[in-house]
């Protein structure tokens, strides 16, 4: 299935405020009560499907704010297929809140009826492409809209991979018409962990398909796989690192303005702290896009 791009998200990206924040359950009542918030909010649908009270509050919020859905359970990389019952429930929620985007991960998390509650890595091969493309088609058919696929945070790769991650994503876009979510922090930490140039990665990322950007905090730990080395873990448990802000500015100059989400899931701070991070994202974006414009004029 070929699907048209999400126009509401694109419209919001042309405004001066690109940044939204991830809305987590501890902040739900506060936002429903009307505290000032960002231009848009993103939620994990899995937090609302089995929680009627939270869903009721979300529906109220969605009447006043743009909301996007970011699934952590659709598992388009699972060889066993997408859970159709779960997909139907997400469709039901989407019908109610009319999200600006529906996104998920290039990963797998289900196996023979078990839910492994993590985003597990995939080898980048023709076989994986066929599997993921079929599942993305299925999701898009069920949702009646493009699915937005996020690049993963990587700690391991596979010796069997025959494509780079950006080649894989570009081919996935070509085969399915899906859109992409470029998680700049994931790109940064994956490049650091796997030893490649993150700026070259952003250069190769299929810019035309990018519908959204994520920024999340990561944590530096000792790398048990490499004595004396360090590894970056995608914990979403802190502020955005300076290197990720720099990369975000670079990505915006390449992609143009895109809705950008601040993700913070663990050690959750006050909602005002999230808003401050979103303000910073808007400032970084404004500067980056102005510089990009000046460079273009000078060129």
């Amino acid at each position: 299935m070929r699907v048209a791009v999400a126009t509401r998200a694109e419209r919001s990206a042309t405004s001066s405020r690109l940044a939204g924040v991830g809305l987590r359950l501890p902040h739900l009542a506060e936002v429903a009560a009307g505290v000032p918030t960002t231009a848009w909010l993103e939620v994990h649908p899995e937090n609302f499907l089995a929680n009627p009270h939270a869903r009721e509050l979300l529906l109220d919020i969605a009447r006043r704010h743009s909301v996007s859905l970011h699934s952590v359970g659709l598992s388009v990389g699972s060889i066993g297929g997408v859970d159709r019952k779960h997909l139907k429930r997400i469709r039901g929620l989407a019908d109610e809140i009319k999200p600006i985007l529906v996104s998920g991960h290039l990963a797998w998390s289900t196996h023979r009826g078990m839910y492994l509650n993590d985003l597990l890595p995939l080898p980048y091969t023709e076989e994986t492409l066929r599997v993921v493309a079929a599942h993305v088609h299925e999701v898009q058919d069920a949702l009646g809209r493009p699915y937005v696929v996020e690049n993963p945070a990587s700690y391991v790769g596979f010796a069997t991979s025959t494509l780079t991650e950006t080649e894989f994503l570009a081919e996935l876009v070509a085969r399915t018409g899906c859109q992409l979510l470029c998680d700049v922090s994931n790109a940064f930490l994956s490049a650091a962990n796997m030893g490649y140039d993150v700026y070259a990665y952003i250069d190769a990322f299929p810019a035309h398909a990018v519908a959204e950007i994520h920024l999340g905090g990561f944590t530096r730990e000792d790398d048990e796989a490499t004595p004396g080395g360090h590894i970056l873990i995608d914990t979403h448990a802190g502020a955005i690192a300076e290197q990720a802000w720099d990369l975000y500015a670079y990505a915006l100059r390449r992609f143009g303005p895109r809705p950008t989400l601040i993700e913070w899931d663990n050690d959750l701070p006050s909602f005002s702290t999230l808003l401050a991070e979103a303000d910073r994202a808007d400032n970084v974006a404004a500067n980056a896009l102005r510089q990009g414009h000046e460079h273009a004029l000078a060129g």
Partner: protein
């Protein structure tokens, strides 16, 4: 070349059993990539055990946070989630916890944990519009006996041989008593909640049976018979009226089947 199916089998096994060596043959990343796979394993265990700890804080208060955490870790290995919403995970944790050797000195722990699970479930429910006593009265007695009722989604019925409702009320009050005597007696509890609020009500045995059978989907006639078996003086009509007055009845099968 290893197929995607075999690779996912191998990684999934590593996640459940902790044995990462077989999957490591296909991985790259650092000098010992299996140690990188441990990052996923750690997240899987830590996120689910944290979810269980968040659902059973009263059990941690009673049995000790270290005991609940250790048992939660074993539970995650033994019972991986089958549902994609973690809010649904842990329904059989109370039995698993009670069967652990560290909890055997607390024979009331399973009931208490089951009550805590019920409290958590009803607190996230929302009330539906109830039907009135006069609506039920219009059904006619013959149709009434064969009818089933849907009760509010935020209601659960639990019985115990211990007064675990008193213990839970003590926990919820936030006041730490110097001494608490847990009564050993047949206890019938209605747990009702919605939108964050929860009420525990102790019922007599016959009313409890009547309401529990209705909540399980039995007909009014069957539920009344079960309650009368427990107490021959039970008054089904009055019990039904009280149920309606408590705004607990949402629909009747007679309504649902109406043309």
């Amino acid at each position: 070349m290893l197929s995607l199916a075999d690779l996912q089998c191998s990684v999934a096994r590593a996640m459940i059993t902790g044995e990462t060596e077989p999957a490591a043959a296909w991985l790259v990343g650092g000098a010992r990539p299996e140690k990188r796979l441990d990052i996923h394993l750690r997240h899987y265990e830590a996120s689910l055990t944290a979810a269980l700890r968040e659902k059973f804080p009263a059990c941690a208060w009673l049995a000790g946070a270290n005991v609940v955490s250790a048992v939660a870790c074993e539970y995650v290995r033994a019972r991986p989630p089958r549902l994609l919403c973690i809010a649904d995970y842990g329904e059989d944790f109370p039995r698993f916890l009670a069967n652990d050797g560290r909890a055997r000195t607390m024979p009331y722990l399973e009931s208490f944990a089951a009550l805590e699970w019920a409290v958590g479930r009803v607190s996230i429910a929302i009330d539906h519009p109830p039907i009135s006593w006069s609506d039920i009265g219009r059904m006619g007695s013959e149709r009434l006996l064969d009818s089933t009722l849907s009760l509010q989604p935020g209601v659960r019925y639990l019985s115990s041989t211990w007064g675990v409702d008193e213990l839970m009320a003590t926990y919820l009050s936030g006041i730490e008593p110097e001494r608490f005597v847990l009564p050993e007696s047949d206890t019938f509890i209605e747990v009702r909640g919605a939108r964050g609020a929860v009420h525990l009500t102790r019922l007599d045995g016959a009313t409890f049976t009547f309401r529990r059978e209705l909540a399980a989907g039995c007909s009014i006639g069957y539920a009344a018979g079960a309650a009368l078996d427990r107490d021959s003086t039970f008054d089904p009509g009055e019990a039904l009226r009280l149920l309606a007055h408590a705004n607990l009845i949402v629909t009747t099968s007679a309504q649902a089947n109406a043309p």
